[in-house]
């Protein structure tokens, strides 16, 4: 035993004497995690959250979250002598006078963008591989909650500096609140401490941004990770991998080194972006005043699709009985996002209802093997992307020499027409890929070698694929559609019978698949050759 091993042993003993942790630790230090690049996406989110906490804390040491009016006399000459809020002035101070302040601001903003990209891509990975299925529905809901809060937190964050762009964002928020039927103007006046913009809003959202939401994040992320730990990570299908095992590397030392190292890599990349890629140069926008605006005002990307929906909305308002309802704000600003996020959160339950599948799943699906789910996902994505494109319609129009009207009409029509088209194309593509898999298993790989037969015919030599590959392409299960009784015992249609009929129909659509290749078929083909 070397001296170092002895010390390690002593430390472990010291901890166990005081906590009795040995039993739990010995099991968990060697816990096995499956390895796949896409499992790093969630890690990126976790690490950028830590980066956000660190860089954000740094910023709070100088940031003054106040809308009190001051005259700027700092180092940035073009704004010298201008009236502005203390929030904006202190952000200028951080950017120009605090050494490393601008770097930290940029790291903080980049980390926020990476956090949101990470969440969305992680969500797509979980969705398209079916990782949300039983028993992981809770974690899916927590994830959707983190996504929603992330959007809010990001919005509040870039609203804090009180520059011309961020003030514009706050004005949108105010208009949406004010559009609420019945209580809108009251809630707006309570939130802003009076009329817009007032002097209360930034100090208030500051507390929410640095204390309330980060606290909720911390709690949700902890539960999210504990559940991953306890339920063990899902794994991709492959030889030797089953629903009953986990194939991968032990936590100590391999995963500790890899995951720990990955934290530094994410931080390093974020610092690099903060060093070389200017982001949110608030000194160029000037202080906020409600009478001014700059052309090409854009929200950050995770809000962009919502803004795009608002932009494309038709001008509908109802005026009746002395009251106004602004559908042009409520539908794109609240109702549609509400439906989308609710649908997203409930998706695991909707799918298990549609397929009737109530079993546990630890092996992931290849997206092609769940054509309906994949197509539905691409459909939702298409909807969001059309929204996002329209959120930048002014920039796109000027860049590509289009008129704003062309862009807007493309979006208005596209948002309705393109998602269903995307659904159909994706579903067909998935089934084609299934067919290609089947071909590959039954007829082997095309080698590109052409051989001339004695009778003059040319054929290409096919090479059988490996046993591992054949297993990968055929190991998924294909569930049969539901066959719930559509008539009750007396042969009469009852409400429940109609429900069953609907479920059968949905389940049939979900179960559409190209039959996977089997050993029997393979052998039969061999017999023919």
């Amino acid at each position: 035993m070397t001296a170092r091993e002895r010390i390690a042993g002593n430390v472990a003993g010291y901890v166990d004497d005081r906590t009795g942790a040995a039993k739990w630790m010995k099991k968990n230090l060697t816990k096995v995690f499956p390895d796949h690049w896409s499992f790093l996406l969630g890690e990126i989110c976790l690490y950028s959250f830590v980066i956000l906490l660190l860089s954000g804390t740094f910023l709070t040491f100088w940031f003054d979250p106040s809308q009190r009016e001051v005259i700027y006399d700092g180092g940035y000459q073009p704004l010298s002598g201008l009236k502005m809020s203390a929030a904006y002035a202190s952000t200028l101070h951080i950017s120009f006078e605090v050494r490393g302040g601008l770097l930290m601001r940029q790291i903080h903003h980049w980390a926020a963008l990476i956090f949101m990209v990470g969440i969305v891509v992680h969500l797509l990975r979980v969705y398209f591989t079916g990782a949300f299925r039983k028993p992981r529905e809770f974690n899916w809901i927590i994830g959707v909650g983190l996504l929603t809060l992330g959007i809010v937190e990001g919005f509040l964050g870039y609203s804090l500096p009180d520059d011309l762009l961020s003030g514009t964002g706050i004005r949108i928020a105010e208009a949406i609140i004010q559009a609420l039927p019945l209580v809108g103007s009251y809630i707006a006046f309570f939130a802003f401490g009076g009329a817009f913009p007032g002097e209360a809003f930034i100090p208030r959202i500051y507390t929410v941004h640095v204390l309330l939401l980060p606290g909720i994040f911390l709690a949700l992320i902890t539960v999210h990770l504990m559940l991953v730990w306890y339920q063990k990570h899902t794994q991709f299908p492959g030889p030797g991998r089953t629903e009953k095992n986990v194939v991968g590397y032990p936590l100590m030392p391999v995963y500790m080194a890899k995951a720990g190292g990955f934290f530094f890599i994410v931080f390093g990349v974020t610092a690099f972006l903060g060093a070389v890629a200017s982001i949110n140069p608030i000194w160029l926008y000037g202080p906020y005043t409600p009478g001014q605006i700059s052309a090409g005002s854009q929200p950050d990307w995770y809000m962009g699709w919502l803004d795009g929906l608002v932009r494309m909305s038709p001008p509908i308002e109802t005026h009746a009985l002395g009251h106004t309802i602004s559908w042009n704000i409520l539908i794109p600003g609240l109702i549609l996002p509400g439906i989308m996020f609710t649908g997203l959160a409930l998706y695991p339950f909707i799918e298990s209802w549609a397929t009737g599948d109530k079993r546990e799943h630890h092996l992931l699906d290849r997206p092609r093997n769940a054509p309906n789910r994949t197509a539905l996902g691409v459909m939702a994505l298409t909807f969001t992307i059309v929204g996002l494109l329209n959120g930048g319609n002014d920039i796109i129009a000027t860049t590509f020499h289009l008129t704003i009207n062309q862009m807007m009409w493309f979006s208005r029509i596209g948002i309705i027409v393109l998602p269903p088209i995307a659904f159909i194309i994706t579903k067909r593509l998935c089934l084609s890929l299934q067919r290609a898999d089947r071909e590959l298993v039954l007829h082997g790989r095309e080698t590109g070698r052409l051989v001339r037969m004695p009778n003059g015919e040319f054929t290409e030599i096919h090479e059988p694929i490996s046993a591992e590959k054949a297993w990968l392409l055929t190991s998924h299960e294909q569930i049969a559609p539901l066959e719930l009784p559509e008539l009750d015992e007396a042969g009469v249609r009852r409400p429940s019978a109609i429900k069953n009929k609907l479920r059968n129909r949905i389940s049939r659509a979900t179960a559409v698949a190209v039959p996977k290749a089997s050993e029997t078929e393979r052998r039969e083909l061999e017999g023919h050759h």
Binding site: L103, A179, E243, G261, G268, R311, H319, N328, S475
Partner: protein
Amino acid sequence: MSNEIELIKDPGLPAHVHRRADSDPVAATRAERQVAILFILSALGTLLLIVSYIFVKSDKFIFIPIMGKTNLQQLGLGMGMAIALFCIGAGAIHWAKTLMPDEEVIAQRHEFRSDDEDREEFIKTVKAGASAAGLGRRPLIKRTLGAALGLSALTPLLLLRDLGPLPKDNLTKTSWKKGTRLVTDPGDRPIKAEDLEVGAVAQTLPELAPGEERTLNNIGKDAVLLIRLRPEEFNLDAERLSWTYQGIIAFSKICSHMGFAVALYEQQTKHLLCPCHQSTFDVTRAAKVIFGPAARPLPQLAITVDAEGYLVAQQPFTEPVGPSFWERSS
């Protein structure tokens, strides 16, 4: 031949392929050195950060292709930090990948469902607990508890009441009154009709009484755009035409959609455009919406001139300015 379809079988985990560093001590030493070099690079990165912090002046700029004029200190700090952090990570991962064991391990999963005995016990405990509390047998307690809990939810609502004042007429009233002069923003100078050429636009605010301070809240409601056209270009009814003065027409600058400043004026088409959501208003037809999400025209301010020839408001706005709200009647 049976009808049973035989599926393709799982060949099991493929045999492990060893890395070179596992068997070749030279390769292992090389990997060790590579890891060490990465850690040394990281240390150099921190050194760069320290040097930039202490010795580079914060107002020194250099030209870098693509990035343009760049603050040298900010770049040094950032690159130093990036190198320092990235190389620690790269070193640790290279270490794990080349020198730590890479044999895949199989662990077994366990069903989450507890065995039947435990479940039954659990359900029995819950049932016993619930019946011991006797909530079902004592409806009086149940109902009063429900009412008390529901009422207590009012506390936070009530306590948040003092967040702000009630809207009252704040959303419907602006500072414009009969006879209020229009002054330039910025500058606060009163305007005469001849100050504006045909085709010109001016941003204006109501003149302040002596000693009065202009707040952002006021600007958010009071901002008005003046546009001068040739009088024959208007396509207005008699009343609205009487609200203009020698071809000068005044609109609230606050968008009727979401309250942004409608700041883009297209002189050729005589359209006002909100740069945020592209609502487009036709100036010649009293800011009628011709495109985009806005549902109402921009409110028009009736103007005329006072005895000294300065532009003034004939009357307050006849409708609320800015985005819609529930209490708005038109």
